[in-house]
């Protein structure tokens, strides 16, 4: 599409302004802000989109202030094969005039003109491209995607060398539309398809239900037929059963008569038998009375004999009891004596043991007292003597040191050969004859034998230190002796020995005390001794002299043991006697019970015999024994005759087999009853089925079933067709989508190259971009540094946005296609150097497309070498 001319009349502040635009190349329209420039773009939009009758806010705002005229816009443009002049005036004397110049001249006005222009634009102009190439001032500086049909077509042509992309894109839209008819955006079946599936299932269920109903009718009809057949059979059977029951009933009546006779004869037989049995029973009773009397008499005799025999045994038992009682008493006495002697012997034994214990405890007490004295003594020694083994060793060591020191130092021993007096170091020393004087030479020693000689003994050079050592040794020795409380070394040794002995004695005393006290204290030991002594003395005072106290404890122990054995023996003897006495007493008791019992029995036997004799006498007086015998013979005869008659009657009844007859009769009656019930049930069921079938048969079920089946088949067919179409649409869509994506991958190359070609002019030769799937710029690389477009500066993004549009327009616009790039005062964020370079890039792109730049900043686009500048008049 190309714009050739735009004219505004009475449009805001513009009274009349016309701008000519070259078909190719760049036109810079300069005009004051918010007046000419903006009006130009707005007018272009209004004339293409708003009808002349429109009262849109945008239209109203285009009317000049204070003038009663309508805003008017006229454009001349070419798009596709069309070139036309299009004019509109709004609000006042509104009109639309279209004058199509090529390919066929057309002149239209009003709505027809507006609609024709819409039609032409829809046919020839890529609306998305038109919008994408329009950069408005102040609009967000986004980098659009160029996924617009024209560019895709151009890229496709570039990629494939064929020019069919327009059609393919149209086809793709149709494929998408087809796909959307069946599938949701998320790839799920659309609701109408799932609804149809549910409809099919509903229809299936209806068919199934009707089939069941028809089957049910068929089953019922078959049952009704069977019942009809059964009814005939049942009627015949019922008649047979009735006749059979009637015949058997008659037979049963006859048999009942025989049974009655048998019953009568049975009664007669029973009466005869009863009479015979009664008389026989009386005879038997008479015999029993005689036998009983005899038996009672025998019994009485036997008891009397037993009474005579039992009297001696009782006397013997009494005697035995007396004997055993005497023996028991003697044994009791002997046991008491033995126990008394045992007690005395035990007390003697204990007494003697107590005496021994008093002695032992007293000895222990004495030893303890003695040991306590020894302990106190030893403690005193230990208290007074300080020197122990360690201190002694130190003293002896110090003494040895003194001796060694003295041995080391020189000394002068002066022995008097006569009594004399000498001076030793100015000290007058008198020596008896033979007496010697020892003088240590720790320093020079002057010996003066008066009037005789002066002997100076000079100490050697080491004498002084030896003298010091000797002095220290003496000091140490004295200190230790003082600490030990001794005068010298021998005394120290003696004191140490004495202390050692005292310690040993102390330990011995402690051991003795511990051993003799054991678990007692001294007081308790003392108390125990006193208690025992008191008891011993008391026993000695109390005890009789006879028998004499055993001489010692051992003897007493043996005597006590002997007494204990004697007691055991006596007790055993007593137990035996006691047992014998008890047995004898029990035997006597038994004998007495037996005697009493026998006496009672004899009394009772005597009474029983008297009763039996009375009974027999009474019976014989009623009926004699001979009378009974005669009556019994007669009764037996009568009973035999009755039994014979009964046997005959029973034989007759048995031959009739009343049991079987009754069973057959009952069976025949039951069969009749059952057949009758079956027949009734059959008739009832038939009636029920007839009514039910009659009602259901009228419902036109077959027709409804057929219709339901038709409906189901129709739905199934529709469903299958729809599903097949859906699958086809999906397969078609998916296949195309995949191929389209692949193709897009190839498209990107030329577009990218074109952007980079322009970008290198603006930035430098390292400039490159990455293109996304929607043909938008994703990343820019400059001097090896790659950034997401969001990370770029506002100026850089704006520049790349302009370059993308120029690249797009340059690709789609040759031969008058595509749409012009319209730049409304963009690049406000670019510095002068960058503006200059942008100018060069725009100039380069402008050779292949129409670029219209509107600006209120003269000079901003001065660097576009081949631009045509149009200056809008400023009316205001």
């Amino acid at each position: 599409m190309r714009l050739h001319r735009v004219r505004l009349c009475n449009y805001r502040g513009v009274a009349d302004c016309e701008v000519e635009l070259p078909a190719q190349g760049i036109t810079v329209i300069e005009g004051p802000n918010e007046v000419g420039k903006t009006s130009m773009l707005e007018g272009l939009d209004l004339v293409l989109t708003k009808m002349d009758s429109s009262g849109h806010r945008q239209v109203k705002s285009a009317q000049p202030v204070g003038r009663d005229v309508g805003p008017e816009v006229e454009i001349e443009m070419s798009t596709g094969p069309y070139r036309f002049i299009y004019r509109k005036r709004w609000l006042r004397r509104s009109e639309t005039v279209l004058n199509v110049l090529t390919p066929q001249p057309e002149q239209l006005t009003g709505r027809a003109a507006h609609e024709r222009v819409d039609e032409i634009l829809a046919e020839t102009l890529d609306g998305d491209l038109w919008e994408a190439l329009w950069i408005e001032q102040g609009a967000e500086l986004w980098l659009p995607g160029f996924d617009v049909p024209s560019l895709v077509a151009a890229l496709d042509t570039a990629a494939t060398g064929q020019d069919a992309a327009d059609e393919d894109d149209d086809l793709w839209s149709r494929i998408c539309e087809e796909h959307e008819r069946y599938w949701t955006a998320t790839g799920r079946p659309k609701r109408d398809r799932t609804a149809r599936q549910a409809e099919v299932e509903g229809a299936q269920s209806e068919v199934s239900e009707l089939t069941d109903q028809i089957d049910s009718i068929d089953r019922d009809a078959a049952e009704a037929d069977r019942l009809a057949r059964d009814k005939g059979r049942l009627e015949v059977a019922l008649a047979q059963y009735r006749k059979q029951a009637s015949d058997l009933s008659e037979q049963w009546h006859e048999t009942e008569q025989v049974r009655n006779r048998v019953d009568y004869l049975t009664s007669a037989n029973e009466a005869a038998t009863l009479r015979r049995d009664s008389i026989a029973s009386e005879q038997q009773r008479r015999r029993e009375l005689v036998d009983e009397l005899s038996s009672r008499a025998e019994k009485l005799e036997e008891l009397d004999a037993r009474a005579l025999q039992s009297a001696p045994a009782l006397a013997a038992a009494i005697s035995h009891v007396e004997q055993t009682a005497a023996a028991l008493e003697a044994a009791q006495t002997a046991l008491s004596v033995a126990e008394s002697e045992q007690r005395r012997a035990n007390e003697d034994r204990d007494h003697l043991r107590n005496r021994i214990e008093v002695e032992q405890l007293s000895e222990r007490h004495e030893r303890i007292v003695e040991a306590e004295q020894k302990l106190r003594k030893a403690d005193n020694v230990l208290e007074s003597i300080k020197i122990d083994e360690g201190l002694l060793a130190q003293v002896e060591q110090a003494h040895l040191a003194v001796v060694s020191a003295e041995a080391a130092i020189a000394s002068v021993e002066t022995t008097a050969l006569r009594d004399l007096s000498i001076e030793v170091n100015d000290e007058e020393v008198a020596l008896a004859a033979g007496e010697a004087r020892h003088t240590v030479v720790d320093e020079d020693v002057m010996l003066v034998i008066r009037n005789t000689a002066e002997i100076r003994v000079r100490a050697g050079t080491g004498s002084q230190s030896l003298a010091i050592q000797r002095r220290h040794a003496h000091q140490e020795f004295r200190r230790l002796c003082e600490a030990a409380g001794v005068a010298d070394q021998p005394e120290a040794r003696r004191a140490a020995q004495e202390r050692k002995d005292a310690a040993r004695h102390r330990q011995e005393a402690l051991d003795t005390i511990a051993r003799d006290l054991r678990d007692l204290t001294v007081d308790r030991l003392q108390g125990k001794i006193e208690g025992l002594t008191k008891r011993v003395n008391a026993y000695t005072a109390e005890r009789p002299d006879d028998p004499p106290l055993p001489p010692d404890f051992e003897t007493a122990k043996q005597v006590a043991a002997g007494k204990a054995r004697t007691v055991d023996e006596k007790r055993e003897e007593f137990d035996k006697c006691n047992q014998a006495a008890t047995s004898a007493s029990d035997a006597l008791q038994q004998e007495r019970v037996d005697e009493s019992s026998l006496a009672t029995m004899i009394k009772m036997a005597r009474e029983a015999k008297a009763q039996a004799a009375d009974a027999l006498e009474s019976a014989r007086s009623a009926r004699s024994d001979s009378a009974i015998t005669s009556e019994l013979a007669q009764a037996e005869k009568g009973a035999c005759a009755a039994l014979e008659s009964l046997d005959e009657a029973e034989t007759e009844l048995s031959a009739a087999d009343p049991k079987s007859l009754k069973a057959r009769l009952r069976n025949a009656q039951d069969a009749t009853q059952r057949a009758s019930e079956d027949l009734r049930a059959n008739e009832d069921r038939q009636q029920e089925l007839r009514i039910s079938l009659s009602v259901r048969g009228e419902g036109g079920l077959h027709t409804r079933h057929a219709e339901a089946l038709v409906h189901l088949r129709h739905l199934e067919r529709e469903h299958q067709r729809t599903e097949a179409r859906a699958e086809a649409a999906r397969l078609l869509h998916d296949t195309f989508s995949r191929r389209r994506q692949e193709s897009r991958q190839r498209y990107r190359g030329p577009f990218k190259e074109r952007i980079e070609e322009l970008g290198r002019i603006v930035f430098n030769s390292s400039f490159s971009v990455e293109i996304d799937g929607d043909l938008s710029v994703a990343r820019r690389t400059l001097d090896g540094d790659t950034l997401e477009v969001d990370q770029l500066s506002t100026g850089a993004r704006e520049q790349i946005g302009v370059l993308c549009r120029l690249a797009c327009a340059a690709m789609v616009s040759p031969d008058g296609g595509g749409a012009p790039v319209i730049i409304d005062d963009a690049l406000g964020w670019s510095d002068p150097d960058r503006l200059e370079r942008m100018g060069a890039a725009i100039a380069s792109a402008g050779q292949r497309c129409q670029v219209i730049i509107l600006t209120c900043t003269p000079g901003r686009y001065a660097h576009i070498g081949n631009a045509t500048t149009v200056r809008l008049p400023s009316d205001e």
Binding site: R174, A221, A222, D225, S694, G697, A728, L732, T735, S743
Partner: protein, 376 residues
């Protein structure tokens, strides 16, 4: 000579399931209307009565409307007597339509239901010996049983039966089949004089006597019938029989297998579909197989749509192996697409010959073909 009209298998209430609702309605109505045609023919031919040998109704449970309309059609033919025999579709069981309240209420005086094998006087000296079906699955030769104890009398006897004749199904041993031998014996011995049969929808002369016939159905029922749409006007006596078939059916069925490979085959299919007269009462089934191009397939689809509108009914089935769409290069060129669309088209063409997604791919090609035609 006695003259009567022999017909059977009206199957009132029947309509093929695959027909459209409109066609089903017309088809069903035609089966009732043919009663009027039959009555008119009987009047023209001066028939004494009409026997309908079984399957008068499609089922015992047809719509009440159909029953009432049929009964009124017969009523309109008064006084011409109609003798109706229950068959396997409408047996005389407990749910029999012949005993339904509607039938009892609206059954006209000129209708007699042949409910038993007891002889029925159809005209002076003429006895009908009927073998009605008591239920859907009889276990005996009903016709044979009905004739078994008959002896020759002065009357001329027409036996009315329904079912298959054993001679026509020698491989089957169904005890309910009608024994032709027993019938021919009775004919030979002069006990019976004509056997009017129903069940077979094609008009058929059975055996060699010329006295045993299936009249066929007055309106066709299915594609497999050889000669449906007739009724028989029968004239007979002891010495001879004259049978004349009359076409009364308004509908007809056409069926053919088609192997399509070339455009000529598709043209031939179109010509065949164009052939029938009274297309609105013609039900056609075409069974298609072979391999066609996408364009040919599109033509076939278009043709099916067209004739579905035109014909009484059109059922297109897949023949053995089905009708495969195998696109060739020329075919693909014919789509007029290029670039990625051409590549996608090739993918689909390849898929159309695969095993797994062939059907969907062929459908997709057909769809694409349609879409490209829309956009061009």
């Amino acid at each position: 000579m006695v003259k009567f009209l022999h017909t059977a298998d009206w199957q009132l209430g029947r309509a093929p399931l695959f027909l459209s609702e409109e066609a089903r309605s017309r088809f069903s109505a035609a089966r009732v209307d043919v009663i009027g045609t039959i009555a008119a023919l009987a009047a023209t031919e001066r028939c004494d009565f009409v026997v309908v040998c079984g399957d008068v109704f499609e089922s015992n449970h047809i719509d009440r409307q159909v029953l009432v309309r049929a009964l009124y059609k017969i009523r309109d033919a008064r006084p011409l007597p109609f003798y109706l025999l229950p068959g396997n579709h409408d047996p005389l069981d407990a749910s029999s339509i012949f005993r339904s309240p509607t039938f009892k209420e609206h059954g006209p005086s000129n209708v007699t239901v042949l409910e038993s094998s007891a002889p029925v006087q159809a005209a002076p000296g003429i006895e009908l010996i009927a073998a009605p079906w008591p239920n859907k699955r009889p276990l005996v030769d009903l016709v044979g049983e009905a004739c078994h104890s008959l002896e020759a009398t002065d009357a001329l006897r027409v036996v009315c039966g329904h079912g298959r004749v054993d001679a026509m199904a020698p491989e089957s041993h169904d005890p309910a089949h009608i024994s032709l031998g027993r019938l021919e014996e009775k004919i030979e011995s002069g006990v019976i004089h004509y056997v009017a049969l129903g069940d077979r929808h094609s008009t058929t002369d059975v055996g060699d006597t010329g006295r045993v016939w299936y009249s066929g159905a007055p309106e066709p029922t299915d594609f497999v019938e050889d000669e449906p749409g007739n009724v028989m006007v029968v004239e007979f006596d002891r010495d001879g029989v004259r049978v004349e078939r009359h076409r009364v059916g308004a509908w007809h069925f056409e069926y053919r297998d088609w192997e399509l490979t070339t455009d000529l085959d598709v043209d031939a299919l179109r010509d065949w579909l164009e052939t029938p007269d009274n297309k609105e009462r013609c039900i056609v089934r075409a069974s298609l197989r072979g391999q066609v191009s996408v364009a040919q397939r599109a033509r076939v689809d278009q043709m099916v749509d067209h004739f579905t509108d035109l014909l009484g009914g059109l059922e297109v089935r897949d023949g053995e192996g089905g009708l495969a769409v195998v696109p060739d290069d020329a075919d693909l060129d014919d789509f007029g697409v290029s670039g990625y669309a051409r590549a996608a088209l090739s993918d689909l063409a390849e898929l159309a010959q695969s095993d797994e997604h062939a059907v969907a791919a062929q459908d997709a090609l057909a769809l694409l073909y349609r879409l490209t035609r829309m956009s061009s």
